[in-house]
Symmetry: C2
Subunit: 339 residues, 2 copies
DNA sequence: CTGAAAGCGCTTACAG
DNA sequence: CTGAAAGCGCTTACAG
């Protein structure tokens, strides 16, 4: 019995019988291969239509060795960033006749279980988005032999799509410095990630460079670790507001954190940008609504690029490479000179 | 050659040889089936580990007739609602050993191409989220024989997960009426959808009922059609603000539209809820940040429910049924009595 | 341009 | 508890 079917479905033999040709010819005719007489092809098509025949993808895959599927692994599904990368990738996969199989590996256990399972074998290639692999896991994956594209993280041997996170941190901070701010805080992910998620460290490095360049002494209490979430932005901002000398400007490593920070500032009775300026990273759709100055990443573009890279490698096995996507500062109303 | 592999992978025969048993025993031992001697099972496991054997999912599928895959069809991927439904479904699918294959059918053409293709045959069942099918398409899908669960739309023969949209419209409007508003506008999707997307009409019906109940005369110009997006909320709100007698309260059929409306109100120099109250639908994560009063839907729960329903039917073929999920009004700071 | 046949790598009655 | 063998439904050299 086939997937999605209870009653018997017509198979390639039924079509062959109906069209009075061999199954080989049916296969060739229906897939538009060359070397099929036009009249034969038409006869086969008619028979297939009559019998409502659709090739069983599973059988095609087993026989051909190609699944026409790309696996995408994300830490979560319901986050703007991941959904947007996925949407970007999906577009190119569909255009090129591939399907998208989605896996969520939210924690170490799920990730390791996924990698040890046979599930990833059901795809011709894979895209990992912000998935922090251990050395051993990367090795296991590489051993599968199919192309792997990593978005957001870099691994040796994997093709990767990244942005210049140091530059992101620098340009955001520079913007605040240019406005005249001295007490500039930074909200972001935790540093020293054991799994090598370097984005927070790099953005922080850019922040440091921008401050050091103009000789602004960094105040340690203005660097606060959190997670890239609205809630965390709210809480970390509250910590900053509780300081004896709160900052006059905040660089938030993601727009979602920035949204939380904006709320915390307003909830405390202060205004943006009057009392405190805020700059984020991403250009999340809500940033326009929130009038948030931000460093734009073209996230859907990253997904599309990852899709293109993985398909190119599936189809002609290139060398792994590193692609860097552009980012740019978008100045909106959440930033202004200090009082 | 297998998916994701260039060099030859070990197959079940290699493992059988190594463990000195038949392939049938390897299959049974590795899948944890009963009637395998403990010592034999251990030997097979060891051999599999040694040879880094992982069963080829494609071959398993062809032989067993089960794909262990559920297809999910959405109109777009990068929208909060769809990503959240997907996340909810993914959780239960993964827990029960199923994989998630994602298809996007954004317009009629893509939808019809998808349905006519053999791609949906690669799954044991499917979940459609807000997919507006024609009669013919629904028939084609039903003919596939596998269970189909529709989220957000109802079709005869399909199991569906819905909410009481009339009640949503009524409770949101009632809340505004209770606050003393008379000039209450409604922003939402277009009515009279040829494809039967009834949500806008039903929410509008609830709005009417709430007004009629207390005898408030409806002003036609306060009903404006748009799409469920931030941008559309912004634009339709601008239209309302341009009226000679703008409303003092707005019921927006989605939170995202409401966000756009909030921005339009503020951009015009008015305040919320001082000048205009706004209530949305969804309880989008940003609603907390925006302090938006809204009718909450447990969207991830809808996805999880859909997942459970489709799996239950795959595993024991139930009758199609209709599940109605709860909604509830969450009062925040975007609503207040009129001036 | 077409067909016969092998093969893809598993699972599953069936028999013992 | 285990194995031999058929079968899942296609695709693909190979031969003609």
């Amino acid at each position: 019995m086939n997937a999605l079917s209870n009653d018997r479905r017509n198979n390639i033999e039924d079509v062959a019988r109906e069209a009075r040709v061999s199954t080989a010819t049916v296969s060739r005719a229906l897939r538009g291969m060359p070397n099929v007489a036009p009249s034969t092809r038409e006869r086969v098509r008619k028979a297939a239509r009559l019998l409502e025949y659709r090739a069983d993808p599973t059988a095609s895959r087993l026989a051909s060795g190609r699944t026409n599927t790309v696996a995408m692994v994300v830490p979560i599904l319901d986050g703007w960033y991941f959904a947007t990368v996925m949407a970007g990738a999906e577009g190119v996969l569909t255009d090129r006749g591939y399907e998208l199989l989605v896996f969520v590996a939210g924690d170490e256990e799920a990730r390791s279980r996924l990698i040890m399972s046979s599930r990833l074998r059901g795809a011709d290639g894979m895209i990992l988005v912000d998935v922090a692999l251990t050395e051993a896991e990367a090795g296991t994956l590489l051993q599968l032999g199919g192309p792997i594209v990593s978005v957001g993280m870099e691994f040796g041997g994997f093709t990767s799509v990244v942005v210049d996170d140091v530059e992101i941190g620098r340009s955001a901070t520079q913007h605040l410095v240019d406005l005249g701010h001295i007490d500039i805080a930074i909200l972001g992910g935790a540093g020293d990630d054991p799994l090598g998620y370097l984005v927070p460290d790099r953005r922080r490095e850019g922040y440091r460079q921008a401050l050091d360049k103009v000789g602004i002494a960094r105040r340690a209490e203005l660097t606060i670790d959190g997670t890239f979430s609205v809630r965390s932005g709210y809480e970390t901002m509250q910590e900053l507001l509780a300081l004896r000398h709160p900052p006059t400007a905040v660089f938030s490593m993601s727009d979602e954190m920035a949204f939380g920070a904006l709320k915390a500032i307003r909830d405390s009775g202060l205004s943006v940008p009057g009392d405190i300026s805020v700059v984020g990273v991403d250009d999340h759709p809500m940033s326009w609504v929130m009038d948030l100055t931000t460093v734009q990443q073209k996230v859907a573009g990253h997904g599309a690029l990852a899709g293109r890279l993985v398909l190119d490698q599936i189809e002609e096995s290139h060398e792994p490479l590193r692609q860097e996507a552009e980012t740019s500062l978008i100045i909106r109303g959440s930033t202004a000179p200090p009082r």
